[in-house]
């Protein structure tokens, strides 16, 4: 306890104002609990300020420039001028609209907003330090604490982020110019999304990945579509190599060295290097040493299905609680934590969590793949619809990609879907709903889908799984 601190009490203290935290706070206030939300940086967290939203804004903008430039086949000949500053201004406008929205949602729900960094003093109180040193602090006593401190980009040893040469996704999303040559370390979803943006904005992009393909964790035929498209955008790939060293050159550029399995070294020249090798939970801002709570071996605050940590009365939600590190997971967990704190019988019993990658084309997945279903003891049946046979895809000038649904052969219950193609991020929602409702292939097949839309491909995949496809052989 700091002498002179004013102690206030709250029923629910939420630490971190990202999607996990702000949703937890609003839900908690809605449930009539006296709620305080502490955020040290910006409401909306990574997602709104440095993640989902700015990245998607730039993806859309770069798509428009790219599509305009590549529409000769459609009879359109254009060479759009791209003003990066104006684009950035627009993107920042979108971000601030949304973050202001989050702030006012919290306020109108009755959440008490406190700016500062919250640190546990003991198992019932936190100290909130306002701004920098000497700006004062206060002590907040809580009944329940919901930790939603999110995650940060992992730094490779020797590759400390400096915002000039070595960039994290956060800095890459705030660049004022498009680098001529960009080296991207890591071909996960963030690396691939941003590589695509910069390639479409005219940068020469090389992606270095330690593993043998892009998008580790996705099935080969899914990753393949994205890799081939990326290659056609001019992105070069170097697989099986790990970034090991870098230096600045006299011409103001950098040289990055990579090492492969056999210790062979390769060198790349670039203006800057984006390191996107994963994200780690943020637990070092919290004063965890003062309470009986420790991150697990992966740095994660592990939780049960009610989002409770090992420490009584303390919940963890979102990225800090581990994989999948996705904004919608954070929100769902935030909601459950608040409801459990309010004594409601809530639980994280969701059957499937969708995930989207906003590459060109997009990927949308939900639930189990065929092999995951097998491993879980199901006898899966799979139905697939290639988009080249979908009218709407062709009118979008898209021929690649597919919709695949996975179901249990005996009962026809939907188990999962893998979708690659335009708007795959949206299409996957239908299958997600179906899985949660316990829908069967027949239920999807028996639902009329709008023509001509991409969603017909979901319908067709379901009929294909039943051996009744009309449009595919």
């Amino acid at each position: 306890m700091v002498v002179g601190d004013v102690t206030t009490g709250t029923e629910v203290l939420v630490i971190g104002g990202g999607p996990g935290g702000y949703v937890a706070a609003i839900r908690s206030a809605q449930l009539g609990l006296d709620t305080t939300l502490v955020e040290r940086d910006a409401y909306g967290g990574t997602c709104l300020n440095h993640g989902c939203i700015p990245s998607k804004a730039l993806i859309s903008a770069s798509d428009i420039a790219h599509d305009a430039r590549n529409a000769e086949e459609l009879g359109i000949f254009a060479e759009p001028a791209v003003d990066i500053e104006a684009m950035t201004e627009w993107k920042d406008g979108v971000v601030s609209r949304l973050t202001r929205g989050v702030e006012s949602l919290c306020k109108s729900a009755g959440v008490n907003l406190v700016e500062g960094t919250a640190e546990f003093i003991d198992e019932e109180t936190v100290r909130v330090a306002h701004g920098g040193e000497g700006q004062g602090s206060e002590t907040v006593a809580f009944e329940h604490a919901i930790v939603a401190t999110g995650s940060r980009p992992i730094e490779l040893p020797g590759f400390e982020f400096d915002g000039e040469y070595i960039l994290s996704s956060r800095e890459a999303l705030a660049l004022e110019t498009v680098p001529d040559e960009l080296l991207v370390v890591g071909a996960g979803y963030i690396g691939m999304e941003l590589s695509t943006v910069f390639a479409k904005l005219g940068a020469d992009v090389t992606v270095v990945e330690m593993l043998e393909d892009v998008l580790p964790g996705y099935e080969d035929d899914v990753a393949e579509v994205v890799r081939e498209r990326a290659a056609s955008l001019g992105i070069d790939f170097a697989f099986g190599e790990a970034a090991s060293d870098w230096e600045t050159l006299d011409d103001g550029r950098i040289r990055v060295a990579t090492t492969d399995e056999d210790d062979d070294i390769a060198e790349y020249h670039a203006d800057s290097c984006l390191v996107a090798v994963g994200r780690e939970p943020v637990t070092d801002t919290l004063g965890l040493e003062n309470v009986a709570l420790e991150p697990d071996a992966n740095g994660v605050l592990s939780t049960d299905e009610e989002a409770r940590t090992d420490l009584d009365g303390v919940f963890a939600v979102g990225d800090v609680a581990g994989e999948p590190m996705l904004a919608h997971t954070a929100m769902a967990e935030g909601e459950v934590a608040a409801e459990v704190a309010a004594g409601e019988p809530a639980t994280l019993d969701h059957q499937a969590i969708p995930a989207a990658v906003f590459t060109d084309p997009e990927i949308g997945t939900v639930g189990m793949t065929e092999s995951e279903a097998e491993a879980a003891g199901f006898a899966p049946v799979v139905g697939e619809m290639p988009l080249r046979a979908n009218g709407r895809a062709l009118t979008l000038n898209e021929r690649e990609g597919f919709v695949r649904v996975v179901a249990d052969a005996d009962t026809e219950f939907l188990l999962g879907a893998q979708i690659v193609g335009p708007e795959a991020s949206q299409l996957v929602a239908e299958v997600g709903l179906g899985i949660e409702l316990g829908a069967r292939l027949e239920d999807v097949a028996g639902t009329i889908h709008t023509h001509p839309t991409l969603s017909e491909a979901v319908h067709e995949a379901a009929t294909a799984a039943r051996g009744e496809a009309i449009h595919t052989g």
């Binding site: 019988p345 809530a346 639980t347 019993d349 969701h350 059957q351 879980a376 003891g377 199901f378 249990d408 005996d410 009962t411 026809e412 219950f413 949660e436 409702l437 316990g438 069967r440 027949e442 239920d443």
Partner: protein, 494 residues
């Protein structure tokens, strides 16, 4: 096994005569299927089955009188009991084991049920992985969860029942299963509310206990005598009831709270009047923001008024109590502060100012708290009020009161008495917006112009619905009420 007891058939109905059976032992029945027709004092009613299952035993013959809570029929719950080897013994049922694929699909312990159904299961404490789905491919529906919940309740039933029976046999040791009596004696027993099987007798006919009309009357008189409770006791009971109600109010609407029974414990069903009270109170505490205003008033004037009126009332054969006087004062104070005589219509979002002065009088009875309503208090004289009160209260105690006679009040008065306590925190009888609790009239020290004297005083606890009434209104009403109570002759002014 599900021991189905004759349910509460309506306010004040304690028993019914079985007019007809619609099922026989061995029949399979569905939930809501009519089991029997039972006649009560009020009407003939159909008694529906609460569960799916097979009828195992009928516990009454046509013509038998069955008391509420007595076992009427034993039903083996569940369509096709698949436990042990019972499948082959399911006589009369369709015998077909319902195929569910729950086992096959639960490959990774996965259940196929929509989020709304999963939540229902959590709310009811049902393990959804053990529920068999009746939807396509065994998908679990809301109805499946509800059925599993009921089945679990039914499984619990025998333990609960046996606990009740074990204890019940003790105080009722003399109660017989069968009694011989003439039809006229039986009718008399029914009229007097006497349990004929509990009437003590030494006489036997053909080896069975025999009861005559005189024995029934004697029993009725003893019971009536027992029923006369001294005022103090009523107050004690009321106070206890009020505090219990408050606890119940907190509990109802919360999660079901199972209680482990140990051998010495006694279980009583929580239903009927008890449950009606509980639900009413819980609703009131849940919906109504209560605020209570406490005050005390010296009432030598009231005591004197009663003392003066008492002999005059006696001449007319009426014993005058304080309650009618209190009601008159309340009615007068309500006229001065009509906001206290309101009801809140949450549907139309209007506050209804009631013109009539129908006042409820909370009354403790053996079967719980009831609130008979005295109509038009403002228009009636003290004698008329006294007579009406006596009648209502005694009928409330003997359960011989119609639902309508307990409805339509604009305000309620409850006499929580003063055994050990001075003030209470009464629960508003929704949709009314206020309730007045009064303590005992007794001497308390009163400081007046520098001197402390012992004076008869009355404590007042007024609970208001803060949505409608503000604290200042409450204080003003109580101040006016105090002026009438301290000087009842003021009533004559208006």
């Amino acid at each position: 096994m599900f021991e189905f007891e004759l349910p509460d058939l309506g306010e004040g109905v304690a028993e019914g005569e079985v007019l007809a059976w619609h099922v026989a032992a061995g029949d399979s029945v569905e939930e809501d299927q009519v089991l029997a027709e039972v006649e009560t004092d009020k009407a003939a009613v159909d008694v529906p089955s609460p569960v799916d299952g097979v009828v195992r035993e009928l516990h009454a013959d046509v013509g038998d009188i069955v008391a509420t809570g007595e076992v009427l029929v034993t039903i083996e719950a569940g369509e096709a009991p698949e436990s042990e080897s019972s499948t082959e013994s399911v006589t009369g049922s369709d015998g077909e084991v319902v195929e569910t694929s729950a086992d096959e699909t639960a490959a990774d312990g996965r259940v196929f049920a929509p989020p709304s159904v999963r939540r229902l299961a959590r709310e009811r404490g049902v393990d959804i992985t053990a529920v068999e789905g009746s939807g396509p491919s065994g998908r679990i529906t809301e109805a499946d969860v509800a059925a599993a919940d009921r089945a679990a309740d039914a499984d619990d039933e025998p333990a609960v029942k046996s606990a009740v029976r074990r204890v019940a046999t003790e105080p009722m040791a003399e109660r017989r299963d069968h009694t011989l009596a003439t039809p006229a004696t039986r009718r008399l027993a029914r009229e007097l509310g006497v349990d004929i099987d509990a009437v003590p007798t030494d006489e036997t006919r053909d080896g069975e206990a025999y009861v005559d009309a005189a024995a029934v009357r004697a029993m009725a008189e003893r019971e009536a005598a027992d029923d006369e409770i001294p005022d103090e006791d009523v107050r004690a009971v009321t106070e206890q009831v009020v505090s219990e109600l408050r606890e119940t109010a907190d509990e109802v609407g919360a999660e079901p709270t199972p209680i482990e029974a140990s051998d010495g414990d006694r279980r009583e069903p929580y239903r009927g009047v008890r449950r009606t009270i509980g639900e009413q109170m819980a609703r009131s505490r849940r919906e109504v923001p209560h605020a209570t205003h406490h005050d005390m008033v010296a009432v030598p004037g009231l005591v004197e008024a009663r003392e003066r009126l008492q002999p005059l009332a006696e001449e007319r054969g009426v014993h005058l109590t304080y309650t009618p006087l209190l009601l008159k004062c309340v009615a007068a104070a309500l006229d001065d502060h009509p906001i206290l005589a309101t009801q809140l219509d949450t549907e139309s979002e209007e506050i209804v100012y009631r013109r009539d002065r129908a006042i409820g009088v909370a009354t403790a009875t053996d079967h719980g708290l009831v609130v008979p309503v005295v109509e038009a208090v403002d228009e009636k004289g003290l004698l008329e009020l006294t007579a009406e009160l006596d009648d209502l209260v005694s009928r409330a105690r003997s359960r011989d009161i119609a639902r309508e006679e307990m409805q339509g009040g604009v305000f309620t008065v409850t006499n929580f008495g003063a055994i050990g306590g001075e003030y209470a925190d009464p629960v508003i009888n929704v949709p009314e917006t206020a309730i007045l609790g009064v303590g005992a009239i007794k001497e308390r020290p009163i400081a007046e112009s520098g001197e402390v004297t012992a004076q008869p005083t009355l404590t007042l606890s007024l609970a208001i619905d803060h949505r409608v009434i503000d604290g200042a209104d409450a204080a003003r009403f109580v101040t006016t009420l105090k002026s009438y109570l301290s000087e009842p002759t003021r009533l004559l002014l208006d």
